[in-house]
Structure formats: C-alpha cells, structure tokens
Amino acid sequence: MKIKESFGSRLFDAANILFMLLLMAVMVYPMLYVISASVSSNALVASGAVLLWPKGLTTAAYDQLVGNRDVWISYWNTIRYTAVQVALTLLVTAAMAYPLSKKWLPGRRPILLMAAFTLLFGGGMIPTFLVVQKLGLLDSIWAIVLPSLVSTWYLFIMRTFFEALPEELEDAATIDGCNPLQVLLRVVLPLSMPVMATIGLFTAVNQWNSFFDALIYLNDRSLYPLQIMLRNILIAGETVQGEGDLTHLETLKYAMIVIATLPILCVYPFIQKYFVQGAMIGGVKG
C-alpha cells in the first residue's frame, strides 16, 4: 500500500534532516575545537585566529605534558582507582545480587528494602565524610573506592538478570556438589557476561570521570587522579607544576582535556552498544 506523501510531510522531513545536521555540528564542534586548539600555536589560539581547524601546527603542548611527572602519576592513579573499583564493585555486587535473586531466600525482602531506601534518603556529604575520616581512609585509595562501591541501581539490574537465568543449571551444579560460591563463579557469572560488561563499563567510566570524592578525601598530591589535575589546570588556573614557561598555557589546557578524555573516546564506538543496553535495563524497571 502506497499513499502519496503530502507536501507538508516532505517539508517536515527536509527540516528534520537539516535540524539533525545542525545538532551534529553543535555536538561535535566543541570537541573538534579542543583537538584543533591542542595542536595549534598558543599565540594563534589566544588571539582567536583558530576557530575550527588547527593553525600553526605544533605538538609543543603535548611535549610539555608528556615530559611532566605529575601528569603520569595522576594518569597511573586514575587507572589504578578505576581497575580496583571495577573489580571490587563487580565482585561485591554480584555476590550480593545472587542470593537476592532467590525468591525463596528468607530475609530477602528486608535486605532489598534496606538497599532501596538509600535511593530516597541518605546521611549526606558531611556525615559520610566523617565516617570515611573515622575509618582512617583519608589519603588512601580506599577513600576513593569504598564509599561508592555498591550502587543500588546496579545491584537491582544484576538481581533482575540473575532471576531470569534458568534455575535447572544451578540445581544441576548443586547436585554435582558445588556450594553456592562455586555455582556463582562457575555457572552464573559465565552466563552473565553481558550484564557484567555493562555494569563494569558504567563503573569504569564513572570512576574515570569522577573528581568530587578525590577533592574531599585526598590531600596528598601524589594520590591525585587525572580529573583533579585537570581541574587544577583548567579551572583553578594552576600552571603545570614545575613549569615556569607560560608560552603554552592555553594550548596546554586543551591538550590536557584530550589526554584525559582520549581513552573514553577511543573505546566509545565499541562500548556504545553495551551502554545503550545497560541504560535500558537499568532505567525501565527501577
């Protein structure tokens, strides 16, 4: 069945495509400018000669950052925090979600309610800070990893996923003499790779991008993650430590943004699918 398109309908299509092109330009331009500015000459960026494409091509800003020890230390810290957080988050969340997926387990409901209530109400910034301080976690990797270890959303997503797995497989493993931990590790987790990948990626990006916990819990410069370095250079206007030379000041900022964001933008095309899936399982059923 073919109904002839009305003029208005075709006009709308044209306008819509035009709007989408504009939208893409608006989304891409800031990122493109950042990259262009990072490889341009500082004087041309500061004077406004660079508007889209790089001018006075140079890698001076990158050379300066690559030669800076603090940048490497903060990079290493971010990688370290992210790796430990992802491993522990997946482990603890899966270990908690698996028993919660057993509808017959006594005590399941109060524990679920306990977790759900924290979505509505919490102690707030200061009492949480005092707990971390009392535990002696300040100025250590644990101040970054532990306070955000389990997310109730991820816990519920995993539980829902585990509930949907066929119970016969687990029963078979139990009959073969596996204890619940072995069932979880050998049967349930291998079947749950999609949800583990999604939650692992979400956790990794969150940790990679986070700055606030580091801001309040870390004083030791040698523990600073990348985002804190970035904040100090971009916003607090600090120069890269140990550099008296200000000739690359503007381009340095842009180069720093590129260096900090590159890993995420590189893997982005590959992980997009997982993220979209994850947003859907997580969002629809709260």
Binding site: M27, G124, P127, S210, M280
Partner: protein, 307 residues
C-alpha cells in the same frame, strides 16, 4: 517472637553460604549508608571530633535557627537551588522527549544511527572536562565564543562567568548539550514498544504525521515520562552541584551559590560539621518529601509509580 527466633537459627545455618555471600555488600550498606544516617544526629549537637557523637552536647534546633535567621545568604541559597532546578526541569526535561520524537521520524536508518551515536557522546565527558571547556571557551580574553561574537557581530567581550545574569543560562544550556542525546534512549525504547498496527490504523483513517505523533507516539511515551519525572524530583535539591562547584566564583555567587556548595564550604573547608550537616539535612528532607508526594500524586492519577 520466641518461636520465630528459634526458627531463625536453622534457616540461617541452612543457607549460610548464601548469607555469607551477601555479607560484604550488607556491610557496605551499613558502614557507608546507614552509619552516616545515624551521624545525622550531629545536626542537633555541637559536635566536636574529639568528643564524638556520644559525648557532644545536644543543642536541638540551634543550627537550623542559625541558618534560617542568622545566615545572611540563606534565602539566596534556597532561591538559587530552587530556581536552577526549576529551569532545569522546564527546559532540560522536555528536550529529550522532543528529540526522541524527531529521531523516530528520521526515515534513513544509517543517518538516524549516526546522529544518535554522535548525540550520545557528550554524556561520556567528565564534569571537569565540561566545566573546563565552558571556562576556556567563555573566557573574555582568550575564549573562542567571545572571539567569534566579536568577529561576526563586532560585540565587546562578555564576561559570561563573571556576570550573575548569565549563570543559569550557561548551567542549563550545557546540561542540555551534554545530556539531551543520552536522555532519548529510554524514550526511544518506549516508542519501539508501541504496537505498529496503531500507526497503520491511523494512516488508514487519514491521520497526518503530526496527528500520529500527538496521539500515538507521545501517548506511548507517557509512562516513561512519569517515571523519569518522579526520579528527577527525587534528585531535585541536589542536582548538578558538582558542576556548579567547578563553575562558580565570587563574581557570580549571586545566582550560582546553592545549598550543597554552601554545605561543602562550611562543612569540608571550614570543618563546621554540625551546622553543615543541619543545612544538608534540611535539603535531603525537602527532597524526600518532594519525591514521596510526587509518587503519591502520580500513582493516584495514572497508576504508574516508582513503588
């Protein structure tokens, strides 16, 4: 009570491996979620770290009174918090709904995929990067925005982050830029769940495309809209404070300073723990009331609700 207590032990023993698996997670919730809730007590004390919660003096509502009646900025903080969130709700909440409809109306599949992928991208940039881009782009001396305005329209440089009048626009605008694309995902999922025969039937009845959007697409999105609306209200008071912390400065405090940034300054920087906890508690309670009320209203009128 006794009998259930007597039954409890064998149950625990029978499933002890499963309970043991949950233990680290439960400990996490107790230590990092419920102990801080207990710590709210210090909002009603003159807490000192040395004396601890048990040894500190109880002072009732002293800190709340101080905040509302003595702190000169109290009303400014509340006004800024409410206004920033109202603007965010007015402009940022509907934006992904409109965009999802427009995405859905694109008929060239590869083009649709491309636009979607590109619009999701800013979601993955960190708050520091977004704030850093804003600060550098908007700089009156070296920023590209002022350079472009000068070249195109011959305008004098504008101190975007130095004038209180610009702050809300910058905040909400950048929020939309970063999140509009990602925000469409749930709406698109809702649209794809709409029965395609509805569209066929509407076409047979001679419905225009606009009518189809209005009566089928939009209606199909309503449950997701409601859930997201209640969720947004749940974060109403705290939303976006990390970005504000990065963007505000003494020149734009008039419109940018919110309750949470104040709590950060008084609590973390000045170590005025009791007072800052009291102000934070005021904010969480308002947030809790908002989300519970919204959920109740929504459940009564539409049958969709969070719980």
């Amino acid at each position: 009570m006794l009998t259930s207590g007597r039954r409890l032990l064998p149950v625990l023993r029978k499933h002890r491996a499963l309970y043991l698996l949950m233990l680290p997670g439960i400990l996490y919730y107790i230590i990092f979620k419920y102990v801080p809730m207990y710590g709210i007590i210090i909002a009603f004390q003159d807490y000192s770290v040395g004396k601890g919660i048990l040894g500190s003096k109880f002072v009732g509502f002293k800190h709340f009174v101080e905040f509302f009646y003595v702190t000169p900025d109290a009303w400014k903080l509340i006004r800024n918090t409410v206004l920033l969130n109202v603007y965010d709700l007015l402009f940022h909440f509907p934006a992904p709904i409109l965009l999802a409809i427009l995405f859905h109306e694109i008929r060239i599949t590869w083009f649709k995929r491309l636009v979607q992928s590109i619009s999701y991208m800013p979601h993955f940039l960190s708050t520091v990067v977004i704030a850093g881009i804003l600060v550098t782009f908007l700089s009156p001396s070296t920023g590209v925005v002022n350079h472009a305005l000068e070249r195109l329209f011959g305008l004098e440089p504008i101190m975007f982050l130095g004038e209180p009048g610009w702050f809300r626009t910058i905040y909400v605008g950048s929020e939309i830029w970063q999140k509009i694309g990602w925000g469409t995902i749930l709406y698109l999922a809702a649209i794809s769940g709409i029965d395609p025969t509805l569209y066929e039937a509407a076409k047979m009845d001679g419905a225009s495309r606009f009518q189809q959007v209005r009566h089928i697409t939009l209606v199909g999105m309503v449950p997701v809209m409601i859930v997201l609306f209640v969720l947004t209200l749940g974060h109403f008071m705290e939303i976006g404070f990390q970005k504000i912390l990065l963007l505000y400065n003494s020149m734009n405090y008039e419109t940018s300073d919110v309750i949470n940034t104040f709590v950060y300054r008084r609590g973390i920087l000045d170590a005025d723990f009791s007072f800052a906890t009291a102000v934070g508690l005021f904010q969480s309670v308002i947030g809790l009331i908002l989300v519970v009320t919204a959920n109740r209203i929504v459940r009564k009128h539409s049958g969709t609700s969070l719980w």
